[in-house]
Symmetry: C2
Subunit: 273 residues, 2 copies
């Protein structure tokens, strides 16, 4: 597994082709021979579960993960319970889509107490583990880059995600490693090794200077500074052999025809991942 990445593992995270509906994205994967797709819940809601399941079955495209559960911290118990219920719906959806992984973006703090918010994340995940187990769904804790600590997730390093996995002692919980979020981390190599056996996903994109937008600032593989090939080898050495998702929020890519994006994505994947 040390050479070129295999196209059989390539997955389109559908936010990479944000202007496509889910139906268009499934067709696009089929047309461009991308065997996997990662589905976002708002796109799923637009298309409908039944239509999606049928379309996937007819196309042969497999679902690498559902994006996303999480968003656990909130200032009241009532609101935190609502979030937990929503995560249960996400688990049901993941099961219906026949994927095994629900990606968790754990959520920001409602106030200045980030330590408390992290406890709420811990409690929130704990609350949904039995439901995930019943439905055969694994919960992938995705650490987000520290620049999203205030508005998207208080889980910001792989080390932190690993600690949660260790805390639960449950096969239902693992980590999702996204290169854009973790590439900078001086502890990364050892944290990938620590994650052995619990890696549920590997996402790729690139970090190009300057980052012109906090959310839509990601770039196509090869356009930035991340050693994606090296990171893939580390992740594989730690035992992960599953799908590799390309997840890129980038306005310029969104403005291009989806088929062009998928072709470019395949080329860059082979060259840089």
């Amino acid at each position: 597994m040390s050479g070129q990445a295999e196209l059989s593992r390539l997955s389109l995270n559908q936010i990479t082709t944000e202007n496509w509906s889910l139906s268009e994205a499934i067709d696009g994967c089929e047309r461009n021979e991308v065997p996997w797709i990662s589905i976002w819940r708002h796109k799923l809601a637009e298309y409908g579960m039944k239509e999606t399941v049928t379309h996937l079955k007819n196309s042969g495209i497999k679902v690498s993960s559902l994006c996303r559960g999480g968003m656990f911290p909130a200032s009241t118990q009532e609101e935190r319970n609502i979030r937990i219920e929503d995560n249960k719906r996400a688990i049901e959806e993941a099961a219906e889509l026949n994927t095994d992984t629900l990606v968790l973006v754990c959520g920001p703090s409602p106030d200045k107490d980030i330590t408390q918010a992290r406890k709420w994340v811990q409690e929130g995940i704990e609350a949904i583990i039995p439901y995930a187990e019943q439905h055969g769904i694994k919960l992938g804790i995705e650490p987000l880059h520290p620049m999203y600590a205030a508005d998207r997730s208080v889980i910001n390093t792989l080390g932190q995600a690993n600690s949660l996995v260790k805390y639960y002692q449950s096969e239902q919980v693992g980590v999702v490693i996204d290169a854009f979020h973790v590439w900078w981390d001086p502890q990364l190599a050892q944290d990938i090794e620590t994650a052995r056996g619990s890696i549920l996903g590997f996402h790729v994109s690139d970090w190009k200077v300057p980052i012109y937008d906090m959310f839509k600032g990601r770039s196509m593989m090869g356009d930035g500074v991340i050693d994606l090939h090296g990171m893939r080898k580390q992740v594989e050495a730690a035992g992960y052999a599953g799908p590799i998702e390309v997840e890129i929020m980038n306005q310029e890519l969104w403005d291009r025809p989806g088929d062009e994006v998928l072709q470019l994505m395949k080329e860059r994947y082979l060259e840089h991942v």
Copy 2:
């Protein structure tokens, strides 16, 4: 030291009033009773060392630090040597300004090998320690937020800076803790405690959502999500009792009259730090 921060420790990092010359900034501190200033080298070069030293002496304003040395990684040994020589000039300037601290912004990687770049940082600091000792200057390693790992510094956590301090075993080397860069870190509390005895500076500003610009995205204390008061208490509990610098790159603040900014800075410092 658990109540309000003391104004006697307040320092204007002069980038907070970027539109002021160094001469204007010293006058501004005197007029607004801000007892300390942190000086940037390009502003010092514009004004002149002799003029600056005389002006500081006449005003009674003390220099909390010189910004900045560092920028060690480069792809050739020749270029790395040039950077080291430039750091020696910075050490000389710090000594002439009668400050004891040179802040190190360690620099980005010239390529995709961030691990190698980190070794060059380690070597670069090691090379200037004897010179710093001769001149009575301490080297403050300032970890920068991971969102600057690609373009400003490959030292991105306080834990990493602490490891360097431990490696050198030299009283000449310590850390500078900037709230904006480290607030998100799940290891922060213990890393501040680990830094006991080697904390050379404490910088404050705030993280307001959304961050509209990667460089100029900082906000005035109280406008964002950082628990500055809690962090000051942690830093003090770890033994630091020196100046507290307000360092804010923010276009809106730069566009306001400097005296207004200094008055606001004093109010917010008393309320939130």
